[in-house]
């Protein structure tokens, strides 16, 4: 999309200076509304137990699941709670899944002194053949077996199972179903080409500087300095840039200063200070030209638990002077030009990746959409705020673009739902590793990756 429009004037700048070169006005922002209010926490109190979040999650998703179950297996099936189960009767139960895994890191094991165990090193995947699935509802739990893929599912998913209880107290599953895609949102997309740039994992502050030129090239393309006139006019159609997390690299996370003596660390600064200054400068360059939404990620200086609150503006003094900078939460939901975006910085997807046999980030992304919940593993293995009134991660409306950041590589897919939903699933790659960002065309929901490269000592191109 970019290139076809630009091609005719490609060689235009290989010429002597011409008259006043054209400047292109940026396509104006129309119809932006930030819908991520559920993810913004006001007063935060951590004195509550996490059981409430499961209770509200089940209560919130139960009606939808019951409807789905009826449509799947017929209207006449019996919907029972676990306490009402009778042996041998075919019925359908709605509950929360719990997967007991041997390898799951447990805080109790870590601090247990009797065992003298060394804490378990982080593994890429924690699944094992001996994992078991259990279904819990408000009062009881029961073990599941049968036609259900233990390896694939993760704790915290709400689902409906159809089967019967056996004599030994286990539930034999014949079929199961998830909440499926939520109801669709009306489509008010723009009629002309509008692009949104999605990038994540800028990884500033890392020791190696290879990605710095690529980052600079990215900024130059977006602000219109790079490229011939055709490309610049195309870049003027980029209405927004969304930075999906991990703006600082993992190297800035070093906590050595905590262990060392005070006199050794008195004059040292945390690595993140320099990185944030660099980020501020980059954001300033971007903000003078295009609205930017900045989402925090795993290594960014904000709270650890989901939903991550926006970065504070005092950290970005230069860039936050501009009204085009928006510091937003992770997960982030917004409506741009009539197109609803929903996305996270990738912590939820990578957490599911660790505890499930699904390997493909795009597959996991699609699965979370079908399961109706952004992050089912949230209180269990991923830090989460103890919600008690409602679970904001339940998907109530189907977004048009659903993305996750910091994926290993770029993937995208257009999903069509039964009720006419069209969702573009995008896994945004980690920029510091792949130097790739994504351009989403709002008009027809297509996505194109854009790669940047410089040249090194021994690079081929």
């Amino acid at each position: 999309m970019f290139s076809e429009q630009a091609a005719p004037m490609a060689q235009g700048l290989l010429a002597p200076p011409s008259a006043e070169p054209p400047t292109f006005p940026r396509v104006p922002v129309s119809g932006y509304s930030d819908c991520s209010q559920p993810f913004q926490l006001g007063e935060r109190g951590f004195s509550r137990q996490y059981a409430h979040i499961y209770a509200v999650r089940l209560a919130g998703m139960r009606p939808g699941l019951e409807r789905r179950a009826r449509s799947c297996w017929g209207d006449g099936i019996a919907l029972r709670k676990l306490s009402e189960l009778q042996a041998g009767e075919k019925c359908c139960v709605v509950g929360t899944l719990f997967k007991s895994m041997q390898l799951q890191p447990s805080i109790l094991q870590e601090i247990s002194e009797e065992h003298n165990l060394v804490p378990q090193p982080p593994l890429p995947k924690y699944i094992q053949p001996s994992d078991e699935l259990m279904l819990e509802d408000e009062l009881q739990r029961i073990k599941l077996e049968g036609a259900i893929d233990v390896q694939r599912l993760v704790t915290g998913t709400i689902l409906a199972v159809y089967g019967c209880e056996q004599d030994d107290g286990r539930f034999l599953v014949e079929d199961h179903c998830f909440a499926d895609l939520p109801p669709p949102l009306p489509w008010n997309g723009p009629s002309s080409d509008r692009f949104v740039l999605l990038a994540s994992g800028l990884g500033l502050g890392s020791v190696s500087g290879e990605a710095l030129l690529s980052t600079q090239l990215l900024v130059d393309v977006v602000t219109g300095q790079l490229g011939a006139e055709g490309e610049q006019s195309c870049a003027a159609h980029i209405t927004r840039v969304i930075l999906a997390g991990n703006l600082l690299s993992q190297n800035t996370q070093s906590r050595d200063t905590v262990n060392k003596a005070k006199y050794l660390t008195k004059k040292t600064q945390a690595a993140s200070v320099e990185a944030v200054k660099m980020l501020d400068e980059i954001l300033l360059q971007l903000c003078t030209s295009v609205p930017v939404d900045v989402m925090p990620g795993e290594f960014d200086p904000t709270n650890y638990t989901l939903p991550q609150q926006p970065l504070h503006r005092c950290m970005l003094p230069l860039a936050s002077a501009y009204a085009t900078l928006h510091l937003v939460t992770n997960p982030y939901q917004a409506s741009l030009d009539g197109v609803r975006f929903l996305g996270t910085s990738g912590q939820n997807i990578s957490d599911i990746f660790k505890y499930s046999s699904m390997d493909d980030y795009l597959e996991i992304l699609e699965w979370t959409l079908l399961a109706g919940h952004i992050s089912p593993t949230a209180p269990d293995t991923l830090g989460c705020y103890p919600f008690y009134k409602s679970d904001p991660f339940i998907l109530t409306e189907c977004p048009h673009v659903y993305f996750c950041g910091n994926a290993p590589h770029f993937q995208s897919k257009l999903l069509q739902g039964k009720e006419g939903q069209r969702v573009l699933l995008v896994t945004v790659p980690d920029f510091s590793a792949t130097q790739t960002a994504c351009l989403v065309n709002l008009r027809d929901l297509t996505c194109q990756p854009i790669t940047f490269s410089g040249f090194g000592v021994d690079s081929e191109d």
Partner: protein, 371 residues
Amino acid sequence: VTYKWLSYTLGVHVNQAKQMLYDYVERKRKENSGAQLHVTYLVAGNLLQNGHVCHKVAVVREDKLEAMKSKLSTIASVHVYSVQKALLKDSSPLYNTDYDIVKTNLQQCSKFSAIRCAAAVRRTPAEARPAPSPQSQRDPAAAGTLNGHGPPAAKAPPQQHKSIMGMFAAKAAAKAQDTPKEAKAEAKEAPGVSAASSKPPTKNNIMNNFFGKAAMNKLKANSVPEQPKEEKEVVKPSVAVAEPESSPSTVAEKPGKKAESARIQQKDKKSKTKRADRSDDEEERDPENVKKKRKRIKQLQSDSSDDEDVPPSPTLEEERAPSPPPAPAPKAELEPASTEVSAGGRKRKRKRVLKSKMFIDEEEGCMGKAG
């Protein structure tokens, strides 16, 4: 020499800089003067990769240019990226040159770009400043900034209190104030007073709170009478557009200026040279601060008296210095005042520290932002 470096140094549009580089290379090569020039190009286009079409943007050396062009299925743009005498081993010197030049011109980074964004206006400092913690100190500080920016502040929607940062807030406030002042290139001429300013997003409101509702109402009432006065004075300098001093005045009127800056580019140069005058003005105003400061401490407790106190002081300033526009005067002077006030009891020491900081920042602003 990269195109960006050339564009900033000569003050030309980036496309012209690229064409200039190309022209230079062509001419030098025709002359065969013997000096070896190495050129790097920027190539962008579509590339079929992993089964899907990927848009690639790459900086390549001249010898690899044709190879790269043949790899791309469609070429979107080709232009000269940089010219240098020695063969570059890798692209880090290019990056470093660009980084340095951008750093020295941070506030004007979009001036020579090919894309102008009408929405990229600076936030007014009234909205930009987060609240200091204690309630009593917040009000005089609020009064200070509001009255200093009558028109924009009156338009600012009520903001709720979110975070209590105290010290950070004061420092950030000082900084936020400084950066707008140093932003000369954003030629905020034609103070056709911020009529249509795009409004800050909701995020802004939640994060940048400033005062409690009670104080807000009082201040709003106050700022309204201040507003017509401000507007009148601001309109006066607008008549003499060539007068460089108008640039400081426009610094106070932030919203909506960026749109106009697109049209009025040449006046930037003048405003740069006159920056020295501005800082001198502020320096001479600071001794007056000392006097004002004492008054304010005494009346720290009573909100209303503070509010009344502050409007007379800008007018005093205005009478004293008719030619420099009054808008920056109350602002500049109330800034150190407000930052001091917000600090609380230990006025003197705090003020001294902050004041010197202001000077340093101002000087840096004069000589161009060092970073």
